[in-house]
Structure formats: C-alpha cells, structure tokens
Symmetry: C2
Subunit: 394 residues, 2 copies
C-alpha cells in the first residue's frame, strides 16, 4: 500500500498519482461513489467498475447498526458482502453520529448516542471504531472525529480539534490490521490557523493519508478554499489528501487545483434519483416537460452506456412513471460524469495541461441555481423521512 505521485501541475498545486491498495490501484484525482449502506443505490458494482470507479465508500456507522460489523466479517468482509472487488473506504461514523443520531454526548472517552433507527443507546470510542472498520475490512479507514455545527465559535472548534487529535492518536495506536490505511482527519472549523495546526499535528503521526473534514457544510466557497489553502501545505506531499463530502464539479476542480486527490459525495447519486443529470452545461432535470419528446440522448455530449442507448424522452418517461430504472440510469450517468471528469483531470495533469482543461470545463459549466439545490435537498429529505418512517414500522 502506497501513494505514488506521477506528475504535478506547473501552474497550480494539482497532482496526478496512484493510490495502491490491496484491491487494486486508484488513479488520482478520483471520485469515490458513495454506498452508505454497502450499496451504491440501484447500481451493480460491475457497472461502477465499467464506468471507471476504482474506490467506493461505505459507512461504518450505518453498517454497525445494521447488519452489524461482525455479521459482515463472518460473511467474508465488506468487499464480498457488496460484491465489489475494487478498493473500498469506510467513513468512521463521526459525521453520522453528529448529523443523524439523537441525544449524542461527546466525552473524552468517546461519544454516547442513540441509534437513529430504534433509539438503542450506543457508544463509539476511537478504539471501537477502528475495531469496527477492521471487521468490515475496507482498504482505507477513518478515525472517529468530532464534528461541528456551522458556524461555530473558535473556542468550540479548538476544543473539538484537540479531542479529534487525541482520538486520531488513539486510533493509530489501536490498529491491528496491516492491510488497511488509516487516514487522519483535519478539522478546525472555518479557522485557518486551527486547520493549519490540525494538519501539522496529524502530519506528525505519519499516517498513510489525510482527509479534510467539516467542509462544504454551508460555508461560502471562498472559505472552503481558504481552509484547503491553510491545511494542505502543512500535509506531506507524498501522502494522498481526501476532501470529504464534496462533489459539485466546480468544487472538485477547485480542490484538485489546490492539491486534493480523493473525493466522495452523495450529490451525483442523490440528485440522480430526483431526476437531476449532470452535463457539461450544468444540471438538467429529466422530469422537465421539455424532454417529453426529446429523441436526443439525455446528455448529447456524453458517451456513457446510458447516453449511448437511451433518449432523453425515455428517461423522462421512466421518471414520470416512477420506474426504478430512471434513477438507476441517471445514477450511472452522473457517476460516469464525475469519475470521468477526474479521470480527465488526471490525464490533463500528466500532460501538463490541467489549467487549460479546467478553464475549458468551466467555460461551459453552469453552477446549480442555489434554489434548485434547495429544492432537490427538500425532495431528498422527504424521501428519507418516508424511508425512516417505514424503517421504524418494521
């Protein structure tokens, strides 16, 4: 397991590299599709391979709740459970405890919380979360961290950071498996000096990679960028950097330019299920009546297996009639779009033309109207709520 830098951009901080894992190489920059509950919704992992994904993400919090890490381990580990033989990363659950679990209480030892599924009292410590992820068996694992509301005070951010750092040290000490890479997570709220301090402290642990957490939580994009600029120079160049939860194309290319290598986000998959499709001209909504009789491909500039074989009218119809195939095909396209975007970025960095590549993309790309984003999030939340109610009933 190692990270190899293949090329750096002469004009920006962008890097092209390869993260070698026991389940194959991950060329970077790379986008990692999210399969929170061990499934990238509606997709067969063979398709994810076909569209160019090299590493998937799953979530230790969700899998600990159900079906349980020990169940997954007995079934041969998470790769086998998912039917995916490529690289895998599991998130620690720090973010999920913060965002989903009711009645959480952070103590120096760990975090007490209740399951968002059935209210059962649970406890995560840095050590238990490492053990959990060792049972699951992903190639890259994350330490338990303390997440923050946004905005938050400097004092609260500093306090959370101190605990996150101690937990990272305890996590590193708790590791038993040599075939997993434990990354550190740089926190620090929106305070550049805290971000820098966090990066320095984590770098001292000489971990195989570093993540940037607690970003893209509602702050202005300039702030996100400033946090990257504060933290990244303090991290060793020969280790991969992973920006958690970022997936909008313009944000990916910004962060690649700052020197980030890995990304994950539910944006492309969640958006797809609501009918949202990424194109080089921005997002389109397949439910829109203008696609009712459109014989052209959903994205005429895309060569993916969906755009090559279906008309926009067919996808419109599938969404109109609530057929599962609609979300499935749109998900495929969106993941192919983002994985392809970063694959192209990798090639451009190697060719020394990343700046021109990024400029060409941004010349036609239209960022989402914030109102559209809000609407899609609301639609998603309603779905989640229905789902949660169903779960509670069973």
């Amino acid at each position: 397991m190692s990270f190899r830098l293949l090329a750096t951009c002469p004009a920006t901080a962008a890097r092209a590299g390869v993260l070698d894992t026991p389940h194959g190489p991950v060329p970077t920059p790379a986008f990692m599709p999210v399969g929170t509950q061990a499934t990238v919704k509606s997709q067969d992992p063979r398709e994810l391979r076909a569209l160019g994904a090299a590493c998937l993400l799953a979530n230790a919090y969700h899998l600990a709740l159900r079906p349980g890490a020990e169940t997954v381990r007995r079934l041969g580990g998470l790769h086998r459970f998912m039917g995916w033989d490529g690289a895998l990363l599991t998130d620690s659950g720090g973010f999920q405890v913060w965002s989903l679990a009711p009645l959480r209480e952070v103590t120096p030892e760990g975090v007490h919380f209740r399951s968002h599924l059935d209210g059962a009292p649970l406890f995560f410590s840095p050590e238990s979360v490492v053990a959990l992820q060792e049972a699951l068996g992903a190639d890259v694992v994350m330490p338990l961290d303390v997440c923050l509301d946004y905005p938050t005070t400097e004092a609260a951010a500093a306090e959370a950071l101190a605990l996150t750092q101690r937990w990272a040290e305890r996590s590193a000490a708790a590791r038993r498996r040599a075939d997993q890479m434990l990354f550190g997570i740089v926190q620090g709220g929106m305070y550049p000096h805290l971000r820098r301090q966090a990066a320095h402290a984590l770098a001292a642990l000489d971990l195989p990679g570093y993540a940037l957490g607690g970003l893209s939580v509602g702050e202005p994009k300039a702030t996100t960028r400033a946090m990257l600029q504060a933290a990244l120079p303090a991290l060793p160049t020969e280790r991969p950097r992973y920006l958690m939860g970022v997936g909008a194309p313009e944000d990916l290319l910004m962060a690649v330019g700052e020197g980030v290598d890995l990304f994950d986000c539910t944006l492309p998959t969640r958006m797809a299920r609501a009918g949202g499709l990424l194109t080089r001209h921005g997002r389109i909504n397949l439910r829109n009546a203008r696609f009712r009789a459109a014989a052209s491909p959903p994205d005429p500039e895309c060569g993916c297996a969906v755009c090559a074989r279906y008309s926009a009218a067919t996808l419109h119809w599938l969404f109109q009639e609530e057929h599962a195939l609609g979300g499935r095909l749109a998900t495929y396209h969106n993941l192919a779009f983002l994985c392809g975007l970063l694959r192209d970025a990798h090639a451009a960095i190697q060719a020394g033309s990343f700046e021109a590549f990024r400029a060409a993309f941004l010349a036609t790309w239209v960022s989402a109207d914030p109102a559209v984003g809000r609407e899609q999030r609301a639609r998603w939340r309603a779905t989640q709520e229905r789902r949660r109610t169903q779960i509670k009933r069973t």
Copy 2:
C-alpha cells in the same frame, strides 16, 4: 419472418423451433419477460440479453394511455424507446381493458372504457388497436379480444368467442405493416369444444402464429391442460403457439409438452420484487430470517451473474433495507432461471430427451404453496394500490 421447426419430441408434443423476426431469432420454447410499460422493471435491456431473453413483451393498452403510441412512433418506435434491439411482442390490451379499466362496455364495433389512470373515456376497436401497435412497431402484435370472467356460462363464452373471431378477421384486414406478425388469440372459456372451434376458425385465417388466451385465470391445472389439448391439435403445426400469462415452471413444462412454444408472465418479476426467488427446489423468500447470515449464493445451483457474485445474506440485507438493488438482482435471477429453463428444454427436445429432462426437473421442484402465492399477490396488490394512488395525485 417465419417459424422453423427444428425438432419434435418423440414421446410428447413438445417442439423445438426458431421464430425469425426482424429483430433476430427467438429459439423456442421461449419465455418472454414482461415490460408492461416498456420497461422490465429495474432491468437494463442489455442484462435481459445477457441472461438469454430473445423477445420481450410490452402492453399496447398501457402505452396508448401514456406516453401515447404516436409519441413512441415519433421517437423511433418501441425498440428504440426501450433501448432493446431484440424481438418484441405487444399485447393488444384486450386483457387490460377487461382487468383494469372501469366502466367498460363491449359492443360489436369495439370496447368503450375509461382509463384506469384518469378516468378519461376511451374506445378500442380491432382496427384502432392494430394501428396502435403498428405505431409502436413490435415484431409480434395481438388482435383485440374479448376476455371473460372465470367461471362463466357456456353461452357467455360462446358469445365472446364469436366476437373475438370477428375482431380477429377485422384485425387481419386492417394490417398495413408487412414486418409485423399478427397472431390470433384462441379464447373459449373452459369449454373444450369452444376452444377447438376457436382454433379451427382462427387457423382458417392462416395467421403467422396463434395465442391461447383466457387461461391460468384461477381454473384447476388439469383444466388448463385440457384446454390446450382441445385447441392445439386444431392449429397448424408449422406456426408458433403462445400461451399467454403462464410462468410457473411446472406449468411451462406441462405446456411445452403439449406443444406450446412461447410464454410470458409477470410472475418471475413481480415475485422478485417481493423477495421471491425461483430455485430448482421451489420458491424461496429472501426476506426469511434464515438468510441473514447465509454466505452461500441465493441459489447455490445457479450460475447466473447474481448467484455467482452475491451471497443470500447480501440479498436478504438489500430486501430488509428496502434497497432497490434487491428487487433488481432477484428479478435478474428469476428471469435467468425461466429463460434458462426453456433454453434447456429447447436443447433437450433437440437431443430427443425432453421427457427425461422434465422428469429430472420435476423430481426436485416443489410447487408453490397456494398460501404463499396468495400472500405474494396480496403484497403486490398493495404495492399497485399505493402506486395508483401516487399516480392519481400527480
């Protein structure tokens, strides 16, 4: 377009053949997956090709309501709309008008009914249904027929039959496209002499194929068989015979033995979405707790792409968590199972060993407990009802 008989079974009436269509050959006996609304739910047509389907079925009634046959035609026809380049059959809608539409009134001219979606008044005549299916562009099309309640009186069956026969003649006269095969539909309730009479009368029209409708509607299996034995000898051997709406493995093998070539049924797909999986030992329910920790394949005797890569525990988990991938994978398996069963039957007939093949299958096969069937139908109806309510709301 033609039907070629390759071999007949020395011991039964089973036949192996090939139905040549403008969209490729369909080796028979064959099972045709059902995509009522132009989509075999959750499946990409590429997968249907991979699992061995050669011909799919869609429904003229549903497509006439939405998105409209003319819309499909303008988009390049049904093959293109579905993203499927294999053979296609459309059912006429006679059965759907009878089973779904409220306020239907059958007249000699055709049938007046209301859309089950929005109550709009509609009229189907034999001619309009031929035109509808010519706009859709399937390779095999069906004439409008008069369906019957079960049980029904002989007088009612005879009356419906007379109308069905006249409508078949009008349908044949209305045809404009030479690249479509119009089949006749043998009706006649559960009255052998009516079935025989219907078959004779339709055979006189010299149609490219013949279907058997109005069976598997609740009658005893011995009655179904008796109806086949009444009708099939009256049909020309050199034309394909299609038993509509039959899909239980034991029924398929019975009917193949009587000389039926084509089948369709929603059973494997509908069952799959409820967690039901076909195996050589009968149906299993993947939601059953005994699969919670089962590392073995869903069907250990199956070599399909799903059983080769997933554990029963993973499918159990996907159903447990209501992930769409569960129904998708189970659907793939069930269709692979039935298409494979009839592909094997084709090979056995060619090898002269159909009887032994059938006996070997039936030796391990356990027919569904009628209670299980009822439960699965109830589950399906509840889903349909929810769906219908959703549709009405939009």
